[in-house]
Symmetry: C2
Subunit: 218 residues, 2 copies
DNA sequence: TGTGTTTTTTAGGCTTGTCTAAAACACATG
DNA sequence: CATGTGTTTTAGACAAGCCTAAAAAACACA
């Protein structure tokens, strides 16, 4: 059984591993969790002893098969609770993440199975991220970041990749909700910022950073 | 802000104070929480420093005004989650307590307000216990334990006072649900056990201990 | 009121999860 | 390939929450 802290570290390592085959660095974990490198090293040793990560001194850390399973169950819980909060309790999508960070650690297999059923077995959370099933399977929608789109390319928003309230409120404000249609009008080579057309209605300028966090269908 | 452990101690002290004006003893707390007296003394000092209990060495502990407020909010959360689990997620009443013990520590005023709304502002939890409102107000149904009823007395079950799965399953089995009509047929002076008639249908013999935990309207 | 028993507190220790400071290591660069 | 810089680990410390064993206080009752 993993503690809250262990689950948080494992989930972070899993997320930092996504999309690369490289091991995750101590500093990257410390930055994400707002802890110090020394604390991370301590925790990595514990996780390694429990068999959920593999680790070579100075060489970074990887999630093991078993660790991946555990991480995906925490992610499953996080995202199911987010769906619950938005769909049943009328939370805005920028209000759910911090509460889900707490709820994801509740230990009760029955609870999460019944919650899933109650919600109608949702496949995606309010931010477009896929929800793993009980055995850890999930399928992300094919997607590409606006920052990687050519000028003229268009598509429908399927996911946003930053969970901060500030970012989500901004996305709300410009109207780039999930389901909104976006066309890339122009890119400023100077700073990578974009001019985009939203729902064929209004034109907005967004920074490179914002464009890296809004993803449209591929 | 109280930690999980602090909330659990405070809630326990509050419950042990109910119905008496005496201070709560160190041993009583240790027994309830399955910890040792020494651990209780340590924690009482912390709670006392935070102002949620008043404490005199060797004289026991009392919940302060502020502590009572905090305890009632934890109890409110516990009972609202129990209602959610039974009404929305189809848990049996004997399955909810342990999960609610975890959920009661989630910190989010918005969550609990919305949950209350979602559930239709319930006044009682699945075991008949009253749910405090946001300001800590609640009203228990006038009630009396079967063990305190005279022979011939009857009434409707309004609460059960033991949260253990074993007890609740037994209550299920004999059919003494909340709402069931009970008549006290006879009492065996030897061991205080009772013969009761349930819903005018069947007669059951229950131990004194059971009769102390089933309460009917007064 | 003295004495034995029970309750409570103190003393000291352990684990988890965190920190700072210092040492060890890896790696880019010249 | 030596060296300097940044990264990672180690060493040592601390708070929270628990424990056991021993001391102190309260209580019961002869
Ligand atoms: Mn989230
Ligand atoms: Mn999400
Ligand atoms: Mn309960
Ligand atoms: Mn209850």
């Amino acid at each position: 059984m993993l503690s809250f802290a262990e689950e948080n570290y494992l989930k972070t390592i899993y997320h930092l591993s996504e999309g690369t085959s490289n091991p995750v660095s101590t500093n990257a974990i410390a930055d994400t969790l707002n802890t110090r490198a020394a604390s991370v090293t301590d925790m990595i040793k514990k996780l390694s002893n429990k068999g959920v990560v593999t680790y070579q001194k100075y060489r970074g850390v990887r999630v093991s098969e078993e660790g991946q399973k555990a991480a995906l169950q925490v992610i499953r819980k996080h995202r199911l609770w987010e769906v619950f909060l938005v769909q049943k309790l009328k939370f805005n999508w920028d209000e759910v993440h911090d509460v889900a960070e707490q709820l994801e650690h509740i230990k009760s297999p029955l609870l999460i199975r019944r919650l899933d059923e109650f919600l109608g077995y949702p496949k995606y959370d309010p931010h477009g991220d896929p929800i793993p099933d009980e055995s850890g399977e999930f399928k992300a929608k094919p997607q590409v970041a606006l920052s990687d789109c050519k000028i003229g390319h268009d598509g429908v928003v399927v996911a946003v990749k930053d969970a901060s309230a500030a970012f989500l409120q901004y996305v709300d404000k410009i109207g780039a909700y999930i389901g909104a249609k976006i066309r890339v009008i122009d890119r400023l080579e100077f700073d990578g910022s974009l001019e985009i057309l939203i729902d064929n209605k209004k034109t907005v300028f967004i920074s490179k950073e914002v464009s890296e966090n809004i993803w449209i269908e591929e």
